[in-house]
């Protein structure tokens, strides 16, 4: 990740370059990196802004084309400036044309967007008023969720009752989206048998604070998941809190402590089993509901922890899926040794 580092300190280097150029005499030996950077600044001036890394890579490609294949891509100047300039001129010509087209494209799309805004604003004027008590959205569907939801699902929190009982199929699809995203990032970013970069543990203040904070965050996350049908919360929000706790732990403990316990394989297994449990419970419920066969799960008394039939285990499954997915996203963006 050398190039990023350079890129990050771009501003600092500009300052350095500016101050040094005054001090040094003209015939002093040139710093190759500085010279390259100077060329880069000239290039930006002549063309358009591109990142330093991209510029270097382009130059590297140009050098390769000319047959000056140097392995020292990061640290040395390139010897063939006149040839390079020729090359650049050619591409500059093309770029001008492209820029002209892009300009039109931009103007057209801004214009179209303005028209869309105007039309949508007109639409919005005709929609029911904000906070209207007689809005059409407050019809028998919403009323039943609010009035009978408590008896029918055993959930105090109407939204949990809705997403896990009335519209459970949508929620199943949602969990599948999350799972698909986790697997996708895994497929794109994970290279097996590559050790993670050894990171230092967080600094002292961070460690001290999080030592006391972590148990509380985890406790709070568990509470939000488990009491999702009774109080505000639920699998999704609680899972996000738990995922954040895992990420914090991984940052603070450092050196892959958490990764050692929760390997990518185990995390995937947990997600898979939670999803399978969810699917099993819900297909039982769908099947019995659709075929009007009995329903043997006790609802319990609304307002107690063990109530609402399947709601508690369902929330637990969703919470696990969300937490694991968040954590997977995080681990996959940790740089590996190679970089």
């Amino acid at each position: 990740m050398k190039t990023t580092q350079n890129n990050n300190s771009l501003f600092r280097r500009i300052l350095q370059w500016a101050s040094e150029s005054e001090k040094e005499s003209a015939d002093a030996p040139e710093d190759p990196e500085r010279q390259e950077f100077q060329e880069y600044l000239e290039y930006i001036d002549a063309h358009d802004y591109i990142e330093f890394g991209a510029y270097r890579y382009m130059r590297y490609q140009q050098r390769k084309e000319l047959g000056l294949d140097e392995p020292t891509f990061h640290h040395h100047i390139e010897p063939s400036i006149p040839q390079k300039k020729q090359n650049v001129k050619k591409s500059h010509h093309k770029q001008g044309l492209l820029r002209k087209q892009l300009g039109w494209y931009r103007i057209a799309s801004v214009f179209i967007t303005c028209v869309i805004i105007l039309i949508l604003c007109l639409v919005v004027m005709e929609l029911p008023k904000f906070g209207d008590l007689n809005a059409p959205a407050l019809n028998e569907v919403a009323q039943r969720y609010l009035q009978q939801g408590r008896e029918e699902t055993g959930a105090v929190n109407a939204i949990t009752g809705m997403i896990l009982e009335y519209r459970a199929f949508d929620t199943f699809g949602e969990s599948v989206v999350l799972f698909a995203a986790a697997i996708s990032t895994l497929l794109l970013l994970r290279t097996p048998n590559q050790p993670l970069k050894q990171r230092k543990a967080g600094d002292e203040i961070l460690t001290m604070v999080s030592k006391y904070l972590l148990p509380m965050i985890i406790l709070f996350g568990c509470y939000v998941v488990l009491y999702g049908h009774i109080s505000p919360g639920g699998g999704f929000s609680g899972g996000a809190i738990l995922g954040a706790a895992l990420i914090l732990a991984s940052l603070v403990l450092g050196a892959g402590e958490v990764e050692r316990v929760l390997t990518s394989k185990r995390v995937t297994y947990i997600t898979v089993f939670s999803l399978l449990t969810y699917a099993a419970m819900k297909s039982y419920s769908f099947y019995t509901g659709a075929n009007h066969v009995g329903w043997a799960i006790p609802k319990g008394e609304a307002g107690h922890l063990f109530s609402g039939g399947f709601l508690l285990p369902l929330n637990l499954c969703v919470g696990l899926i969300v937490a694991c997915t968040m954590y997977t996203f995080y681990t996959l963006f940790i740089p590996t040794e190679e970089e």
Partner: protein, 501 residues
Amino acid sequence: MGLVYNIPLFSILLVVVSGVCIPLFRNGRHVIRFIQIVQCMVGVGSLFLMVELSTLNESFTYQLGHVPAPWGNELRAGPLEGLFAFVFSLVMVLTFSGSREDLIADIKPHRLGNYCLLMQLLYGALLAMIYTDDLFTAYVFVEVAAVTACVVVSAKESGRSIVSAIRYLMFNCLGSGLFLLGIAILYALTGHLLFSSLQQAVEQYLLSGSSKLPLIVSALLMTLGLSIKSAQFPFHAWLPDAHASATTTSSAILSGLLLKGYLIILMKLMVRVFGPFVMVSSYLCDLLLLLGLAGMLFASVAALRQEEVKRMIAYSSSAQISYIFLSLGLGSQLGLLAACFQIIVHALTKSMIFLGAGAMINGVHGHYWGQLRGAARKVPVGGIAFTVGGLSLCGIPLLAGFSSKYCIALAALDSDWQMAPALFGLAASSVLNAMYYIPAILVIWGRTKPNQEEEWNPISIGWEQKLALGFLLFCNLYLGMRFGLVRNLIEQGINLLGSFG
């Protein structure tokens, strides 16, 4: 309620659950077999469902959970849905068989399992799109399809495929944003998400004559979102790259099935929610017709200039999608029938063309026309598949493409002012199709060196690939010669779906 009625739910659940189980496998090659078995099971189930419902002449809604429809979710199935599910399963199985070697060669072994997982989830999402009867369920599964399809495009891991995946994702996000905004506006107006309740609410608005603008705009937004996702002409920028750079399996599935999944939702929206009145009074039908016409011509012209075989096929996909838009835009029952028929024909034909092209690309290790000269002599089975598919899309009689064009022409003849432009577009695009497919066919059967007799040494390909291509060929010929059965089935299904036009 017999067990047959559980088939829609259980086919979706089976597919998704089998996909989720894949991380438990160790060997990627076994995974391909495993998902093919599941696909076969779902295909057989759908066939059974289709036959049963067609003989009973009925369609049904399936309540998910213990609460009836406006409160809970619902699935809906009739002969048409059964037919779609069956064809989609068939195409999935045959594509995996036909491009098995490509798949193993293109994708790193430790990623094969995850690739199959995503494919299976994509297939589950497609099934859910076919059976859903709820707008929001449709949205959720559209998203599943969007996420999985992007990764499926980039699975080859070349720089170009990742760039095209990112562009695809951008268009996809825009499409789902517009679709969700449309849903939000419609929900604010009616307070329903279920198709049948939405239809009643929309009818009431139409009777009272109020809030016409929001209704039309929401219909427009949803149509726009779905047409971006299905690569209709002005929004097709992402398609050629995505298909050309992906591995053969991905291209065949994406072009053959995924684009149609969105169109099925669009069709359901048109028939079951907005009905003919909104469609006609908001000029939405005319818009669809216009988009279709423009797409048929422009995409075909663009296909003429392609130097890469897969890019050309991708542009031809965009042109074929435009046929569906055109026939939906005719706004009649016959147009709808033609659209459904075109969906089925194109799903079967395009996957065959992609598989044939993939086999030839593998045979000669090059995908430009210059490199493909004489490829069909090396890989005769792939060459035949490509040739028959290409001729079918040109509309040569006795092949499937002809019968779908015939259906569209029948629908066009039945309409009033749309007749002339639709027939003109049909004729012009057939000529254009011929202009790029016939030279391509001549190139692949040509000799690498002129005036020189070459020995005939075809590369041997696996029996599975041969079988898959042979079966697709058979389907194509069958649909070309005896399409009465399928047509009657679609007609029955559409009548049960709702009246239109």
